[in-house]
Amino acid sequence: MKEKRKIILAGVVIGVIAAALVWFGNPKNMGFCIACFIRDTAGAVGMHQAAVVQYIRPEIIGLVLGALIVSAVKKEFLPRGGSSPMTRFVLGAFVMITALVFLGCPLRMVLRIAGGDLNAIVGLVGFAIGILCGVQFLKRGYSLKRTYTLPAVDGVWLSVVQVALFGLLCAAPAFILFSEKGPGSMHAPIWISLIAGLVVGALAQRIRLCMVGGIRDVLLFQDWTLLSGFVAILVAALAGNLVLNAVFGGYFSLGFMGQPVAHIDGVWNFLSMAAVGLGSVMLGGCPLRQLILAGEGNSDSAVTVAGYFVGAAFAHNFGLASAATAVAEDGAITGGPTAAGKLFTVIALIVLFVVAFLNTKATAAAGVKEPQRA
């Protein structure tokens, strides 16, 4: 199938770019991480004060603008919105916080697996089960209701913000915070990150890449098309990591312990990614897909991204984000999810189920859009 070939090819390019970004300076297994990078950008503009994760990530800027440019060229820029925006904002915040309990968005989960991080496999199982739960609601009519066409100006706000952020990154005024150590201090050169973001944003727009949609479509329709992109990224990033590892060392290590920016608490890796999976199905796409849709002019996705930013700030201001597992010289193991993060994950799962239930029941009760008969 031609479409599937296109998706696999684009997935391979994205996987290779992700591996290359690490070689250029990004943290390990973090060529791309929408959750981590939005968190870093939120930190850079002072929304949180975690000194080790503050940097305006050009990849995010590139993803949004790449989608904007290619959608404009292909006449697919569609300013739309009005589908339960505040619910989307809250769901966005919940997805972000639980992603930071896991330490990565679904895309980074795949890249972590490609780096040999077995904790991410535990996350993947939770993620798939979360999606399976979401699919049950979809089958029963879950919907955040329809969107409406909006003025073009409403569809470009997130892109305008990205341009402003890029200006701030280049000008680097004193009020923008940049990490001097930790993951926030590790990054590829600005222009390489930006171009990588633009290319991946454009490709992801063309093939409608979505880490959640792939598994969802298999469970819902037995349709493997979207998932082939997910698998292609995994295989290409794995190959890229193995090549880099053979040449330079340090790009691949199979196991649970000693994984970069990861923790080993299986229960919470599982539960947090279940929340990310369920929340993302309810939003209609993973964090990467939301960035792309926002670039295409979708205001609901832009509101979701705003929710991601606020969630990222809260995750660090309130100690909800996990710390990476580290082994001290005396052998003591530190890091992992915090008590607050665990509590929040449980609350998030409960709230997500309630919101899913309410938006499924409401649809049935109001008799909304029984397919019209002509």
Binding site: E76, R80, S83, K139, S143, R208, D217, G284, D300, R373
Partner: protein, 69 residues
């Protein structure tokens, strides 16, 4: 008359879910209205796999998909 499914404004996968629900009753034909290219592609892909021929026509800002067994 063939059934018309109005999936305009809905984000994926809802247009495909509505289409699936309609096609599960095995009609000889059916029309689906969508308003974005992703939904057009996804509904087309699903319908073709379910054994329908799909023709697409532009209807203002929307797409009208005609599914025929």
């Amino acid at each position: 008359m063939a059934q018309t499914i109005d999936a305009r404004g809905l984000s994926c996968p809802q247009p495909v879910v509505l289409t699936k629900n309609a096609l599960d009753k095995a009609p000889s034909s059916c029309e689906v209205l969508v308003d974005n290219p992703t939904a057009r592609e996804n509904v087309t892909r699903y319908a073709e796999r379910a054994g329908y021929r799909v023709s697409v026509s532009a209807d203002g800002e929307d797409y009208r998909l005609t599914l025929v067994k």
